[in-house]
């Protein structure tokens, strides 16, 4: 199978070549693509720089609608042309060599990134158009050009107006063992980047014109999380405010209600005290009365509260789902939210009782003080 007459221009094709150094390379790891047939690279292929590649399953070389299969050999003509002239779009052919590659796998972009027009904006082309090969293979191609065409880069620039070949690292992915390591790694990486920029500037390799070339972008999964899960964070904040707000409201409202009820019963309290009832027994009676009623209410609220949360959660979490799925992160968040169920577990029961009973005990403090200050003589004289 030969590439022959490609319907895309050569520049686009060459820029699609992407070197990788791991079997589970960055686009697989980030689930931008998946291998739909064949396999990924072996350690040996990566180390030795074997002529193997993984390309898109829908790749249509030369527009002949001939499906590419795993195990096919692709023959690529590596050609170097002289710079274009005013009359010719392409200059004289300086060098050509045919290199064969074995297709070891076919990839497909996952639905979430398939329609991502933004991804196609860079010169590296859309993810779905990328042709992956081991880094070593790409480097050996680079070396081959350098050997066959041994002209210094600056001379190439003079001849062609640009260097003939430019190999570069597009992105590096660092996978840390724990999330806690992020806070240690991030400042160190930033410092290393700053040092690199500083030394490049010292060596006059960077000036104002090409300063943009060292604007490294460092993205941690934590930053990624902050930007994608903003709505979840907001819901969490509102739920927290509502939780603590309800505790404060419950304490103050119950305090007032119990106080009012006790004031209505001041005559009964005064009589009981006049008959010789001890204060601690009266306190115990009120505490028991309030506790029995409120614990019953708390127990019922375990079920109704859960039902209420279930009803609310459906609409609340729908707002947290991304309006349109434009990335794998959006897809991931949607899947997580959709699969999350509201749990009625021991922790929930324990927390509701713990917080509820503490609140009731707090609410009963003032009524207790009121009860302790009761003077039976005054009460009986009043009534």
């Amino acid at each position: 199978m030969t590439f022959g007459e490609l319907n895309q221009d050569a520049y686009t094709l060459s820029s699609r070549l992407t070197g990788v150094n791991e079997a589970e390379f960055i686009n697989l790891y980030e689930k931008d693509i998946e291998i739909v047939a064949g396999r990924s690279f072996t350690e040996q292929e990566l180390e030795t720089g074997a002529n193997v590649l993984i390309l898109n399953s829908a790749y249509d070389q030369s527009g002949e609608h001939t499906p590419i299969e795993v195990g096919d050999q692709l023959h690529l003509d590596m050609t170097i042309y002289a710079p274009p002239t005013q009359t010719e779009q392409r200059g004289e052919q300086l060098y050509q060599e045919q290199i064969s590659f074995e297709v070891i796998g076919l990839h497909d972009t996952l639905p979430t990134v398939r329609d991502l027009a933004a991804e196609c904006g860079t010169s590296f082309g859309c993810i779905e158009e990328r042709i992956f090969m081991p880094n070593q293979t790409l480097l050996s191609l680079y070396q081959k050009v350098k050997t066959e065409f041994p002209i210094e880069e600056k001379d190439q620039e003079e001849m062609f107006g640009q260097s003939l070949i430019q190999l570069g690292v597009k992105a590096s992915l660092f996978v840390l063992d724990t999330a806690e390591s992020l806070s240690i790694f991030e400042p160190q990486a930033k410092e290393a980047i700053q040092n690199t920029i500083h030394s490049l500037k010292e060596d006059d390799l960077i000036d104002e014109e090409n300063d943009w070339m060292v604007q490294f972008k460092l993205v941690t999964s934590d930053q990624h999380y902050q930007s994608t899960a903003e709505t979840i964070e907001n819901i969490s904040l509102i739920a927290k405010a509502s939780f603590f707000g309800s505790i404060i409201a419950m304490t103050s409202i119950l305090t007032v209600i119990i106080l009012l009820f006790l004031r209505d019963r001041s005559k009964e309290m005064g009589l009981l005290r006049a008959l010789g009832e001890r204060k601690h027994r009266l306190l115990g009676q009120i505490l028991l009365e309030v506790s029995i009623i409120t614990i019953l209410a708390l127990s019922l609220s375990l079920i109704t509260g859960q039902l209420l949360a279930n009803q609310l959660a459906t609409s609340i979490f729908q707002t947290a789902e991304p309006a349109a799925i434009t990335s794998t992160s959006d897809q991931m968040i949607t899947t997580i939210i959709d699969s999350t169920t509201i749990a009625f577990d021991g922790q929930y029961v324990f927390m509701v009782y713990l917080v509820g009973i503490t609140t009731i005990l707090l609410a009963i403090i003032f009524p207790m003080i009121y009860l302790l200050k009761l003077n039976p003589k005054k009460i009986l004289m009043k009534h």
Partner: protein, 75 residues
């Protein structure tokens, strides 16, 4: 009269007061339980999202993202 019996009689002889206390507690406890459930669920979702993102750092190199200087031609 035992304390427990007195407590019980006090509750049932003032049904309106007891019912009011019960309803207010139920209402506020519902808000509390509901918001706690939502808080617990968001915590689970947040943790799951964080776990899925993992502990990763990506360094992107702008020079090669917007470069249009690639001149190795393959046909």
């Amino acid at each position: 009269m035992s304390l427990l019996k007195r407590v019980w009689l006090s509750i049932i002889y003032r049904p309106i007061q007891s019912l009011l206390l019960f309803l207010f507690t139920l209402l506020l406890a519902n808000v509390m339980a509901g918001s706690y459930t939502i808080l617990q669920t968001t915590t689970t979702i947040k943790q799951e999202i964080k776990d899925q993102f993992g502990a990763r750092v990506t360094v992107q190199y702008p020079a090669f993202q917007s470069s249009n200087n690639v001149s190795l031609f393959f046909f």
